[in-house]
């Protein structure tokens, strides 16, 4: 037996020391829970109104303790970045790490100081619960671990995009935005939380989380592969898309002390498309083309984004596609409506060239209804798509608006778009540049024509004398904020809340636009009913007045007989969700039936192509 050393066991009198406790007062701890620490990580809280259902909390949870549950009565508006999903917590899995709190883009989910929950055997599912603002027992008054600026895991601010200074750009049509460097693109992509709100809100449901992830991995070809799944106009959309994805982005939040900007999804798309060689993009696009031919022929009227997207899909599916374009080049309003400084022609050409490389044929300078009758197309093709856009501008028809120096914005932009390939012609758009002009309208078209004419004015007269005025208050202008900002930077005067009353004439020439102050645009019921203060009258002096108040499709090409055969809905051809008209061989897509931008036209093109493919497959 091993001898126990005296030093290890202590003195023989040690047990007697316990006698001292006999004299002490006994202590009894209460059975109820004690208050937790100030920033204790107890059960979850979730502000149901603040939570946007982005599911970022679910994605970060390593224990798979979070399940997104649909709460039907909550708002579900994916276009504006709100889903009716809310996180439910499985406390059999949760480890209270609080990463869900630290990652939450809106700061809705938090932890409480509540940590006790007991139940009977038949209530075991009460450990899987949907946190609410007052905690799982509805009694929480104090929060524990919450979101602060220091524990926020998100990079809230986007990479700064380089662009030409206003004084550098105002006398030319060079592209304004530089685009991301590879380093910037990776850093920007790394901000994405992969929630997919962008995908839900995109009209054509681009796989933005996937291509952003590919960019983050440094694999731009993979990014382009993802883009071509849904968008053959990715070059164009990388520059001029209305980027609803960024509106819906879960990082697009206001009211946070640290601020929060959405991921620059559009610029990331642009970066990837520019980074991959054009020939490689053609290969990527062609990789999904069917090897078999169906023998079916489809005619498409209009070589804009809707028509060419449909052409792209249909040729991939093995059909023969012939596009008819009234003008000299393809692109529709992207070429003849969007100025060069926003979308250079060579960029648009790349998208068009990819589509042509698939085997799509375009017959230019061919006006259907004049050069070829609709009935002829019906005879020669298995299906016809009408994708003619909104080529005509609406007029205010105020007194004086029929003067020759009163123009529609789309008419002038078409002239500018028609000549801009020619460097010499870039300085001469084929009409006399006014020394002063006023544009009526507050949308992007108004900004486009105002900024284009401002460039010509600067080139020819050395100064900008351009006014844009609209009936709306500035905060309600339909134009993108950046368009308004850049217009102001370029010396354009923007005057909101003015109602045009008359184009003033003097000695047969336009003298200016007479306006009244707008007191309100809509009535209490939200109905358009502008009210004016007639005593506040202003004249905007100008040699030219340009109207940019609305657009319409020219449907005369259909002819009387087909017009009568078709069903119409408030001035537009009535189509099904898939773009089928009431005439069995005719479909319609794009701005002429749905509005109002490139990405919607692309989405429409896909839908129509799918519908035709199905219809022709049944015939086969």
């Amino acid at each position: 037996m091993k001898k126990i050393k005296y030093e290890d066991i202590g003195s023989i009198l040690n047990p007697l020391k316990n006698l001292q406790f006999f004299a002490r007062k006994p202590v009894t701890e209460p059975l109820g829970p004690r208050p937790a620490a100030e920033i204790y990580r107890g059960f979850h809280l979730n502000d149901m109104e603040k939570c946007i259902g982005c599911s970022t909390c679910q994605k970060i949870c390593d224990n798979a303790a979070i399940t997104m549950v649909k709460v039907p009565h909550l708002k579900n508006d994916p276009v504006n970045g709100i889903r009716n999903l809310r996180p439910a917590i499985d406390y059999g899995r949760c480890c209270w790490c609080a990463l869900c709190v630290d990652i939450c883009p809106v700061g809705a989910i938090e932890l409480s100081r509540e940590y006790v929950h007991t139940c009977n055997g038949d209530e075991v599912d009460s450990y899987f619960m949907l946190p609410q603002e007052k905690g799982m027992h509805g009694t929480v008054e104090e929060k524990g671990w919450t979101k602060t600026e220091t524990n926020d895991l998100l990079d809230r601010h986007r990479q700064k995009m380089g662009e030409m200074a206003p004084e550098e750009r105002v006398d030319n049509f060079d592209e304004i935005v530089d685009g991301f460097t590879p380093e910037q693109a990776v850093l920007e992509a790394s901000r994405c939380v992969q929630c997919g709100m962008c995908h839900d809100s995109c009209p054509t449901h681009m796989h933005a989380p996937e291509y952003i992830r590919a960019i983050w991995k440094g694999n731009v070809e993979e990014a382009v592969e993802w883009m071509y799944e849904t968008n053959p106009f990715s070059h164009v959309c990388g520059r001029v898309c209305t980027h609803r994805c960024e509106t819906a982005c879960s990082l697009n939040q206001t009211g946070l002390p640290q601020g929060s900007e959405p991921i620059a999804i559009r610029w990331l798309k642009r970066y990837a498309m520019d980074a991959v060689p054009h020939e490689r993009i053609k290969e990527i696009a062609a990789s999904k083309k069917s090897a078999t031919r169906t023998g079916k022929k489809i005619a498409i009227i209009g070589a804009g984004p809707a028509g060419l997207t449909a052409a792209f899909d249909l040729i991939k599916q093995g059909h023969e596609v012939q596009v008819f374009e009234a003008l000299a080049k393809a692109g529709g309003m992207t070429r003849y409506g969007i100025p060069y400084y926003r979308l250079p022609d060579d960029i648009l050409e790349r998208d068009v060239d990819v589509i042509l490389s698939m085997g799509v044929k375009i017959q230019y300078n061919t006006r259907i209804g004049k050069d070829i009758a609709m009935e002829q197309l019906h005879k020669d093709y298995d299906a016809v798509i009408l994708a003619i856009g909104l080529q005509s501008g609406r007029s205010t028809r105020i007194p004086g608006s029929d003067h020759k120096d009163v123009h529609s914005a789309v008419e002038l932009l078409r002239k500018i778009g028609s000549v801009r390939d020619d460097i010499k012609a870039e300085k001469d758009p084929g009409f006399e540049i006014p020394r002063s002009a006023v544009v009526i309208g507050g949308g992007n078209v108004a900004m486009d024509i105002g900024r284009s004419l401002a460039r010509y004015q600067k080139q020819q007269y050395g100064e900008v004398n351009m006014t844009i005025t609209a009936i709306d208050a500035m905060e309600n202008f339909p134009a993108d904020d950046v368009e308004i900002k850049e217009s102001l930077e370029e010396g354009i005067t923007i005057i909101p809340s003015r109602g045009p009353q008359e184009v003033m004439l003097e000695n047969g020439r336009v003298k200016g636009l007479r306006t009244w102050k707008v007191i309100s645009v809509f009535d209490d019921d939200g109905r358009f009913a502008p009210q004016y203060d007639e005593s506040d009258e202003q004249l905007f002096e100008a040699e030219m007045v340009i109207e940019a108040i609305g657009q319409m499709a020219e449907t005369d090409l259909l002819g009387e007989e087909l017009t009568e055969q078709l069903e119409w809905q408030r001035g537009r051809i009535k189509v099904t969700e898939d773009g089928a008209t009431s005439v069995d061989w005719l479909w319609s897509a794009g701005d002429c039936v749905n509005g109002p931008d490139v990405v919607h036209a692309v989405a429409d093109g896909h839908r129509v192509a799918e519908s035709i493919n199905e219809a022709l497959s049944v015939e086969r």
């Binding site: 028809r397 105020i398 007194p399 609305g550 657009q551 001035g571 931008d597």
Partner: protein, 166 residues
């Protein structure tokens, strides 16, 4: 169809509620018939506008006819005019064009708006000049009806003209 000076005289000379409503009904009938005759002349694309105007004018025609034949008309009109008519100025700057053979949607709406504006103004003027009592009430009521119709048309005008493009 605007209320012509002779129409105004006709209304001014009315001495009973029923007489006023009968004249007003006749105005609505002529307007309805005008739009009905126009419908086949315009493109099917915009025929809905003319068809809607026919329906609207028919509704007014039916309403006024019913009121003209209603012995309780005075009481009913008093109830209706409790809501003051709003006087929007949107249509003021819209000209009355010559519609021609094949008018477009904007021309038709401008015409209809001008017509409603003119009718509204006339009924207001008649109401102002009429002595207090049932006649004043009926003119006020008619002005209010035309104002409401004009407001509806303004909404349609906005949807038709200020649409498309961004």
């Amino acid at each position: 169809m605007t209320i012509t000076p002779s129409g105004k005289d006709k209304l001014s000379s009315c001495s009973t509620l029923q007489d006023v409503l009968k004249v007003a009904t006749e105005f609505e009938r002529t307007a309805r018939d005008f739009y009905a005759a126009l419908a086949p002349k315009v493109s099917k694309r915009i025929r809905y506008l003319v068809d809607e105007l026919v329906v609207e004018e028919q509704a007014h025609y039916d309403l006024f006819t019913k009121l003209a034949n209603d012995p309780e008309v005075e009481k009913q009109i008093k109830q209706e005019i409790n809501l003051p008519p709003s006087n929007k100025r949107f249509s003021d700057c819209i000209q009355l064009p010559d519609l021609g053979d094949n008018p477009d949607d904007q021309s038709i709406l401008q015409y209809a708006l001008g017509r409603e504006q003119a009718a509204m103004d006339q009924y207001h003027a008649l109401a102002e000049n009429a002595p207090e009592g049932p006649l004043k009430d009926v003119f006020t009521y008619l002005a209010q009806e035309e104002t409401e119709h004009k407001n509806e048309l303004e909404k349609i005008y906005y949807e038709v003209v200020h649409s498309g493009g961004v």
